[in-house]
C-alpha cells in the first residue's frame, strides 16, 4: 500500500439555502452537499469520484484542497491539518495542491497572454524575474504539448483541447504533489479527450503526481483511476479498485450506474441491464435511512429506519444492508 498523501475524516459541508425573506414562513432548508465522508488518497495514485449531478463531487474536491471551509471534519495533508495551516505551511500547501476545471475558457482571463496566464502562479509565489519565469513557462508549455511559439497568444485563439492544455500547464507550474481534476475532460471531443487523458497519465508517471479525478463518465474513470469512490447524495456508497468494482459491484446504485453506461459494441446491446427508476431526490431533505432506498428495488423497512454503514477494509467497502453478491 502506498503511503497516504491526503486523508479526509468526517467531512461535512452544509449550505443554508432557506429563503431569506422576512415574510416567508420560517423554515430552515439545508443542502447537505457532503455529509460525513472519510477518504484516503495514496501518494502517486489516482482516486476517482463518480456519481450523478449534484451528488457532491465538486464540493468534496474543493474541501480537500481547502478552497472552501468544511462545516465539520478534518483533512490531513502529509500529516498536517489543512484547515489550520498558518504562514509558511499554508503557502507550501497552496503550492502542493492545485486544480484543473471542466471549462478551461471560463477559468482563464481572456485579456491575458498565455505566457502570463501560465506564469501567474509563478509570479504570485515570488518568481519576480521575468526571464526566469518565461523560461519556466516555455518548459511547462512543451510538457503540456503546446507549441512555445504560441506564448504570446490569447485564450480565444486556442481550441478547447489546447485551452485544457493551458489549464494543465498552469496547474503544473508550482510542481504540485496533488492535482484535483474536476471534470477536466468532460467538455472535450473524444479524439481530444484521448490526447488529454494520455497526457495526464504520462505526467503522473513522470512527476509522481497524485490525482483526485472527478468525473461522471465511468469509462474514463476506469481508464485513469486506481480507486473509485461512488457518491450518492453527499455520501460514499461504495469504493474499490475499478476492475473489481466494475466486474462485481456490491451496492445496488453502483450496479445501476454501470449498467446505464452505453457500450460502443452493438453485439452487447441486448445484454441484461438494470435500469433504475425515478430521479435523484432533493439534497435538501434526503430520504431517511439509506438515501438510495426511494429508487432501490430491494429496499425493505430496515432501509428506511436505519442508515447502512460503510463496511469493508482499506481496499473496498460498501454501504448497504443487503449488498449484492
Amino acid at each position: 500500500m502506498a503511503e497516504t498523501l491526503l486523508s479526509g475524516k468526517g467531512l461535512k459541508k452544509y449550505y443554508d439555502v432557506s429563503a431569506k425573506n422576512l415574510f416567508a414562513k420560517k423554515k430552515s432548508d439545508v443542502v447537505k452537499a457532503v455529509d460525513g465522508i472519510d477518504i484516503n488518497i495514496p501518494k502517486g495514485k489516482t482516486i476517482a469520484l463518480v456519481g450523478e449531478s449534484g451528488c457532491g463531487k465538486s464540493t468534496l474536491g474543493r474541501l480537500l484542497i481547502h478552497l472552501i471551509e468544511p462545516t465539520e471534519g478534518e483533512a490531513l495533508f502529509e500529516g498536517k491539518d489543512i484547515y489550520h495551516l498558518k504562514g509558511r505551511d499554508e503557502k507550501a500547501f497552496r503550492k502542493d495542491a492545485s486544480i484543473i476545471f471542466q471549462d478551461p475558457y471560463a477559468s482563464l482571463n481572456p485579456r491575458m497572454k498565455v505566457k502570463d496566464l501560465i506564469g501567474e502562479p509563478l509570479l504570485t509565489h515570488g518568481m519576480k524575474d521575468s526571464k526566469e519565469r518565461y523560461a519556466k513557462v516555455a518548459e511547462l508549455m512543451s510538457i503540456s504539448g503546446l507549441k512555445t511559439e504560441y506564448a504570446n497568444r490569447y485564450p480565444h485563439q486556442f481550441s478547447g483541447g489546447q485551452r485544457q492544455r493551458i489549464g494543465i500547464a498552469r496547474a503544473l507550474a508550482l510542481n504540485p504533489k496533488l492535482i484535483v481534476c474536476d471534470e477536466a475532460v468532460s467538455a472535450l471531443d473524444v479524439s481530444i479527450q484521448a490526447q488529454i487523458l494520455n497526457l495526464l497519465k504520462s505526467l503522473q508517471r513522470a512527476y509522481d503526481l497524485t490525482y483526485l479525478f472527478i468525473s461522471h463518465d465511468l469509462s474514463v474513470v476506469r481508464y485513469i483511476s486506481d480507486v473509485v469512490y461512488v457518491m450518492y447524495l453527499g455520501k460514499i456508497v461504495e469504493y474499490g479498485d475499478p476492475k473489481t468494482l466494475y466486474a462485481s459491484p456490491k451496492h445496488p446504485y453502483t450496479r445501476f450506474l454501470l449498467d446505464a453506461v452505453p457500450i460502443p459494441d452493438p453485439s452487447q446491446k441486448n445484454r441484461t441491464k438494470m435500469i433504475v427508476e425515478g430521479d435523484i431526490p432533493s439534497a435538501i431533505n434526503p430520504p431517511s435511512g439509506c438515501r438510495f432506498r426511494t429508487r432501490c428495488p430491494q429496499a425493505v423497512e430496515k432501509c428506511a429506519a436505519e442508515e447502512p454503514k460503510l463496511v469493508g477494509d482499506t481496499v473496498s467497502a460498501c454501504a448497504c444492508h443487503f449488498p449484492l453478491v
Binding site: 484521448a194 481508464y223 433504475v276
Partner: protein, 323 residues
C-alpha cells in the same frame, strides 16, 4: 432503399462569415427510413445540428444558406424549395424535433397540458376534450408519473429528465413520420439517459416512426440505432448499418475514433489518440479533410477530393484507400 421517407441529396449549407465562407455542411447525402433510427454522429462543429436545421428549414438567417444544388425529398416534395409557410405546416406535424435543452422549445408561460394540446387543436382541428384525452394518453405513454397533475404544471416545475419525457410526448403527439432528435440525452445523467433511450425506442417501435438521432456518443449509437452516418468537418466520411460500422470501421477517422474510446468493459494502458485537431473549414485546402491527421494519408489525399466507395452493400466510405 424504397423505404426511404426522407432523402437528403448533396446537401450544402454554407455560412458567410467575416473571415470567409464556412462550408458547414458540404455535399452530404443519406436516407432516413421508416421504422428505423438513423444516427448522425460526429464531433463538435462537424455539422450535425446544421444538417437538422436544414431539414427543418431553420438555418440561421441571413448568415446561413442552403445552396441551390441541395435536395431534401419528403413525400415527393423537395423541402429546400418550399415556402416558409408550407414548411411551417410540415414542421411539428409531419416532421418534429426534440432538442438537447427542452427549455428552448418548451414555453415557460404555458402549462404542459396546453402545450401538448395546442398542435392537436391547430394541425388536426381536434376538440378540446379529445385533445386533452390524447395529451394525457401520451404523457402516460412516456411514463410521466401522475400525468393528470402534470398537465397543469409549468416546465420549470419539472426535473430535466421529466422535461425530456414531455418533449418526447410533444414530438410524438401528432404522429409525425419523422422525428429529429438533436442530442436529446447529452445533458442528462447516465441513469436518466438510459431511461430516456429505452423510452424512445419503445415509443418508436409502437408508432413505426423514423428517427434521425444526432449524437457525439458512439456508445449511444451502438445501443440505440440501426443505421449510422459519421460526419467529419461538414462531410459524411462513412455510412453503414450499425453492425457493419462497429464490426468493420473503414474510414481511418472512424477507426481512430473507436480506438480512442475508453471502455467501461475493458482495461487499456494507453489510449490510441488521433493527433492534431479538426481543421478550420474557412479556406479549407483541396483533398481529404482528414488528411492532416490521417496515419494512412497518401500524396493524392492532399490533392484531390476522395471518392465515395461502396465497400460492401450498404457500407460507403469517403476515402482514397478503397479506390
Amino acid at each position: 432503399m424504397s423505404d426511404a421517407i426522407l432523402e437528403i441529396k448533396n446537401l450544402k449549407t454554407y455560412f458567410k462569415t467575416r473571415k470567409g465562407l464556412n462550408p458547414a455542411v458540404d455535399g452530404i447525402s443519406f436516407n432516413i427510413e421508416a421504422g428505423k433510427i438513423t444516427a448522425l454522429v460526429g464531433e463538435s462543429g462537424s455539422g450535425k445540428s446544421m444538417t437538422a436545421m436544414s431539414i427543418l428549414g431553420l438555418v440561421p438567417q441571413p448568415a446561413g444558406k442552403i445552396m441551390p444544388e441541395s435536395e431534401i425529398w419528403f413525400e415527393d416534395q423537395d423541402l429546400t424549395k418550399l415556402s416558409e409557410r408550407t414548411l411551417a405546416k410540415i414542421r411539428g406535424n409531419e416532421i418534429s424535433m426534440i432538442f438537447q435543452e427542452p427549455m428552448t422549445s418548451l414555453n415557460p408561460v404555458y402549462t404542459i397540458g396546453k402545450q401538448l394540446m395546442e398542435p392537436l387543436r391547430i394541425h388536426q382541428k381536434m376538440s378540446k376534450a379529445d385533445a386533452r384525452a390524447l395529451a394525457l394518453k401520451y404523457l402516460e405513454m412516456v411514463r410521466v408519473p401522475d400525468p393528470e397533475r402534470r398537465m397543469s404544471s409549468y416546465p420549470h416545475q419539472l426535473s430535466g429528465g421529466l422535461r425530456q419525457r414531455v418533449m418526447i410526448a410533444m414530438a410524438m403527439v401528432c404522429k409525425p413520420k419523422v422525428i429529429i432528435a438533436d442530442e436529446p440525452t447529452t445533458a442528462l445523467d447516465v441513469t436518466i439517459q438510459a431511461q430516456i433511450l429505452k423510452l424512445l425506442k419503445d415509443v418508436q417501435e409502437q408508432l413505426n416512426t423514423a428517427i434521425l438521432f444526432i449524437t457525439h456518443d458512439l456508445g449511444v449509437v451502438a445501443e440505440l440505432c440501426d443505421d449510422v452516418c459519421v460526419m467529419y468537418a461538414g462531410q459524411i466520411v462513412e455510412k453503414a448499418t450499425v453492425e457493419m460500422l462497429f464490426e468493420n470501421p473503414s474510414h481511418p477517422y472512424t477507426a481512430g475514433l473507436l480506438k480512442s474510446l475508453p471502455r467501461v468493459d475493458d482495461d487499456v494502458d494507453m489510449l490510441y489518440s488521433i493527433e492534431g485537431m479538426v481543421p478550420n473549414l474557412i479556406n479549407i485546402p483541396e483533398g481529404c479533410r482528414f488528411a492532416s491527421r490521417c496515419p494512412k494519408a497518401m500524396e493524392k489525399c492532399r490533392e484531390k477530393e476522395p471518392p465515395k466507395v461502396m465497400i460492401e452493400t450498404g457500407h460507403e466510405v469517403h476515402c482514397w484507400l478503397y479506390e
